[in-house]
């Protein structure tokens, strides 16, 4: 079982961000932490004891806006209610601006992986995206993290936003890879409803910078990172060998995960099929009863099969077809032979002896490929 802890607070919403997060005053944050502790306790009693936690991930928002004491109390209750694997990957997302004085404590609490939202090294680009930190803030945060003992650091960067050039992106990549961070997530900007960017760009269909340009920047990122020793292991994720995010890989491999906190999603075992559910996204409802669910559904076997394939294909290692047979009792080919042949003929997927993977072309048209596997 994996555990995701959602911290829906940040100092300021970025222009592109549609995550469930926003600024809040101290009293709300305190109430939230109490509710979260209550939820962790209660949900652990429901099914937490069944297995140890292999990963823990504090995401947001910006979890680092919580005080050290608050993070500690959450961390402590997790430790009390769950068994945690000795080798568990324990990640926290931080903002370069709000984490500096905390990274040392985070390391002491037991976090062993840090995910820093940098996005770009260029001041004008950071301003455009609505980021509140500077590259200098990041450098200080990064070096503090290293000094505190973090040996597994992810840096988020963004691609394909207006104003970014091949050159400016190349500089960002060049500079962060010089730091030898272990993991890089590189996301193409997507315009989501309810964000300031949506108001500005929603009349543009597809990538704001144009499809052609977006793909050029994407493949340039892939090429540069590969050259610098990073493995392209998921559509938007890169890691030095052995440093692939275990927590995120769990989503793509359909591992079970428990999500706690406002609007957090879970995938948990249920008697007839796996259950996916989501906590309420209404803060007042959550504070009143942190077990309030917004939606919940038990998956059919067909749905689990579909998920296994389209989530698995996001990873460059693809779907392990041997494991698939063990899990579902049928071969992928017997279910999707025609689809596979058709997609292979179009050059979109490659069928190996025990795997099914997207080709480079298939990455460009991933959604089309995924949709073909839906019944």
């Amino acid at each position: 079982m994996q555990l995701y802890v959602h911290i829906p607070f940040c100092l300021r919403k970025c222009n592109y961000c549609d995550f469930l997060s926003g600024p809040a005053d101290e009293s709300v944050r305190e109430q939230y932490v109490n509710a979260l502790i209550k939820e962790i306790t209660q949900r652990a009693q429901l099914f937490g004891r069944r297995g140890a936690l292999s990963t823990i991930y504090f995401g947001g928002g910006t979890p680092s806006v919580l005080t050290v004491r608050q993070l500690e109390s959450i961390f402590n209750v997790i430790g009390k209610e769950f068994r945690i694997d000795r080798s568990a990957e324990i990640t926290i997302e931080v903002n370069p601006g709000s984490a500096r004085d905390k990274v040392h404590f985070l390391a002491n609490l037991g976090f062993n992986r840090l995910s820093i939202g940098l996005q770009s090294i260029h001041k004008s680009e950071l301003a455009f995206l609505g980021r509140i930190h500077s590259f200098e803030d990041f450098l200080e945060c990064y070096s503090d993290a290293r000094q505190s003992g973090f040996s597994n650091i992810n840096v988020d960067i963004m691609t394909a936003f207006p104003g970014q050039t091949e050159n400016s992106l190349a500089q960002t990549i060049e500079r962060i890879t010089q730091l030898e961070c272990e993991h890089i997530s590189a996301y193409s900007l997507s315009i989501e409803k309810g964000t300031p960017f949506y108001e500005r760009f929603n009349d543009i269909e597809g990538p704001v910078v144009g499809e052609e340009n977006e793909r050029k920047l994407y493949w340039m990122t892939v090429d540069m990172l590969k050259d610098r020793g990073y493995r392209h292991y998921e559509i938007s994720n890169f890691a030095k060998p052995g440093y692939e995010s275990r927590h995120n890989s769990g989503y793509w491999k359909r591992e079970y995960y428990l999500g706690v906190g406002l609007g957090a999603s879970s995938c948990i075992p249920a008697p007839t099929g796996d259950e996916r559910n989501r906590n309420t996204t209404d803060m007042a409802a959550y504070l009143a009863d942190p077990l309030t669910k917004e939606e919940s559904s038990v998956l059919t076997k067909d749905e689990m099969i579909e998920e296994t394939i389209y989530l698995g294909l996001r990873m460059m290692d693809g779907v392990d077809t041997d494991k698939f047979v063990k899990r579902f009792g049928v071969t992928v080919r017997s279910l999707y032979g025609d689809v596979i042949d058709d997609l292979a003929a179009q050059g979109l997927i490659y069928e190996g002896s025990s795997s099914l993977t997207l080709t480079d072309l298939g990455i460009d048209y991933g959604n089309y490929v995924f949709s073909r596997f839906l019944k």
Partner: protein, 601 residues
């Protein structure tokens, strides 16, 4: 009941002049049973019918009116469609009637379909009873409209009831006028049975339910009826009349009456609308004239979106044809669309209604191709044939010449819009015949127009150019030689048979160009570039390109996104289902109708 106390009539009107509202008022104001019937507790039977859930689909209803002279009259009100497409349907309702209420809007006056319907009624020797409706409107001018009726139609209208069906004003005057002016039926109940089938419905329990009007003779349970055209014989199980929403069984129906019968008839083909029913044991000498067989004017291909439902489509068409003899169909195959039917319709509205009924009542998902008229093709070898499917047009070298159908059109339009309407007719290759002012502010324009210029969007164009102040009616005049070519559409260099259509050679380029533009918008981007070309006789005359899609992938998908992203993928997948695969291009089903929307953006 004595025939003297029966009135069989219909209501005719231009669309929106208030026909249905008046019909509702008449049913409201009259009763469903005579006093004698009430005492016989027919109500029980009605309840039974209600329990079985059988409702009358036909637009016929029998009501009982107690007139001012104190006597009860049976009114059989038979509804008629108002649209030009349905002259045939109007005509078959009229054949069952002895009179017609003509509803004219007190503000708008006579419109094109008013005239068309009156002429049809007079053709059937019906007495026409004018009624001026909507007198409550501020713009109502009943006196002007009365004079217009007298001047233009030439029927007495001075004492026409002035009513508002909406407000319920003057309804009694209408009912009295029906008693006074619609003649009673004049059949002979002692003669052999002779009855006209004017409609029928299929009921899973009772089989075909036949609606008819008895001219002579009588029919009751046990009568061996024979359908004179089809020769089918059956023993009557039940006869009855039409309540509002129910069948009311009775012992016997006789001359002058309107009602239904069931006879365990399973095959819908046995009871053709327009056929004559007689008594097999005592047949009448000759059948009733029936209806003028109306030829289908518009044809299109109708295909099931899901090829496996071809048999369902066939059954549905068969059932619809039962009470709509004007619907023709025969199987055809298309490279693009698979197995389907070439269907013939009276007009575009008829086509749309049938399409909608197939989709709604029979739960079919359809792909229809661009409508086409019937062309006459004369070949160099001296033979000729009627072309209903553009795909079947022979090579130009084998064609001596072609003819296209021409209609005589009457357009009634407010003076201010005469110019734009004349322009419209001009661009549609219309031949101007005449214009007369029927009053100071309105003109009646007469044109001859090629049918293929009006089947697509002529009504819409007429409406938008006259701001709604124009009405239109037409009838087939005949065929004329014309310079016609087949416009082929190639998608990704493959000819798509279902997209071909016949067009006048002068407009081929423009139509081709517009068609390419339209398809460019309709066809989604693929992983590769798709040329869309229009060609005449193998020569490309227009081209557009659907650019290749370069990216279709979401950057992020984590634990919280999975359900949401799946919905997105499902939507994408659903979209694909509504596509037709032509070569390696997926064409949305609605694209096959895009030729309909080439004009007037």
């Amino acid at each position: 009941m004595n025939q003297d106390h029966i009135r069989n009539f219909c209501i005719i009107a231009h669309i929106d002049h208030g026909k249905s509202t008046l019909a509702d008022r008449i049913i409201e104001r009259t009763g469903l049973l005579t006093q004698r019937e009430m005492s016989e507790q027919v109500l029980d039977n009605m309840d039974l019918e209600r329990e079985r859930g059988i409702t009358i689909k036909s637009q016929a209803v029998r009501t009982v009116y107690k007139a001012k002279n104190g006597e009860e009259y049976i009114f059989n009100l038979i509804d008629t469609p108002g649209h030009v497409d349905f002259n045939y349907e109007v005509s078959r309702s009229l054949a069952a009637c002895d009179g017609a209420i003509l509803v004219v809007d007190a503000a708008q006056g006579i419109e094109a379909q008013t005239l068309a319907n009156v002429y049809l009624a007079l053709d059937h020797d019906l007495d026409v009873v004018p009624v001026i409706n909507k007198i409550d409107l501020p713009s109502a001018e009943p006196e002007r409209v009365i004079n217009e009726i007298e001047d233009v139609i030439g029927i007495e209208a001075q004492d026409a009831p002035k009513i508002s069906a909406k407000m319920g004003i003057g309804i009694d005057d209408v009912l009295e006028a029906v008693v006074q002016k619609v003649p009673a039926p004049k059949g002979d109940a002692s003669k052999p049975l002779k009855a006209l089938i004017f409609d029928s419905v299929y009921d899973p329990y009772k089989g075909v339910i036949v609606f008819f009007r008895i001219m002579d003779g009588k029919v009751s349970r046990g009568t061996h009826v024979r359908m004179m055209a089809t020769g089918a014989v059956a023993e009557v199980v039940e006869v009855g009349t039409f309540g509002a929403g129910q069948f009311i069984p009775c012992d016997e129906l006789s001359a002058g009456m309107v009602g239904y019968l069931t006879a365990s008839i399973k095959n819908v083909r046995d009871t053709m609308v327009g056929d004559t029913i007689t008594d097999d044991d005592r047949p009448c000498d000759e059948a009733l004239p029936g209806y003028k067989k109306v030829l289908s004017m518009v044809f299109c291909g109708v295909y099931p979106a899901d090829g496996a439902r071809y048999p369902d489509l066939r059954d549905a068409l068969e059932k619809l044809q039962l009470n709509d003899a004007s619907l023709n169909y025969e199987p055809e195959t298309s490279v693009a669309l698979g197995f389907g039917f070439r269907c013939g319709f009276l007009g575009l509205l008829h086509l749309e209604i049938i399409q909608e009924r197939l989709e709604r009542e029979y739960n079919l998902d359809l792909v229809t191709t661009a409508p086409s008229v019937v062309y006459k093709v004369y070949k160099t070898d001296g033979t000729s044939f009627d072309l209903t499917n553009p795909t079947n047009l022979p090579d130009p070298s084998e064609i001596e010449h072609m003819e296209e159908p021409i209609v005589s059109a009457e357009i009634m339009v407010a003076k201010d819009y005469v110019g734009p309407i004349m322009d419209l007719c001009q661009t549609r290759r219309g031949r101007y015949l005449s214009m007369e002012y029927i009053e100071q502010s309105r003109a009646l324009l007469k044109y001859e127009l090629p049918l293929n210029e009006i089947i697509y969007d002529f009504f819409d164009a007429l409406k938008s150019r006259s701001k709604g102040y124009a009405s239109f009616d037409y009838e087939l005049k005949g065929y004329e030689q014309s310079s016609l070519v087949k416009l082929d559409i190639l998608v990704n260099r493959e000819e798509v048979d279902a997209l071909s259509f016949i067009v006048h050679s002068d407009s081929a380029y423009e139509r081709g160009r517009k068609m390419c533009e339209k398809l460019k918008d309709e066809i989604p981007r693929h992983l590769f570039e798709i040329p869309i070309q229009a060609a005449v006789g193998g020569r490309i005359i227009a081209r557009e390109t659907v650019k290749a899609m370069r990216k279709d992938v979401l950057a992020k998908c984590y634990g919280g996104d999975i359900t949401r992203k799946k919905k997105l993928l499902e939507k994408q997948k659903e979209g694909k289902k509504r596509m037709r695969q032509i070569g390696n291009v997926e064409i949305p089903q609605k694209a096959f109708m895009s030729v309909l929307k080439l004009e007037e953006n």
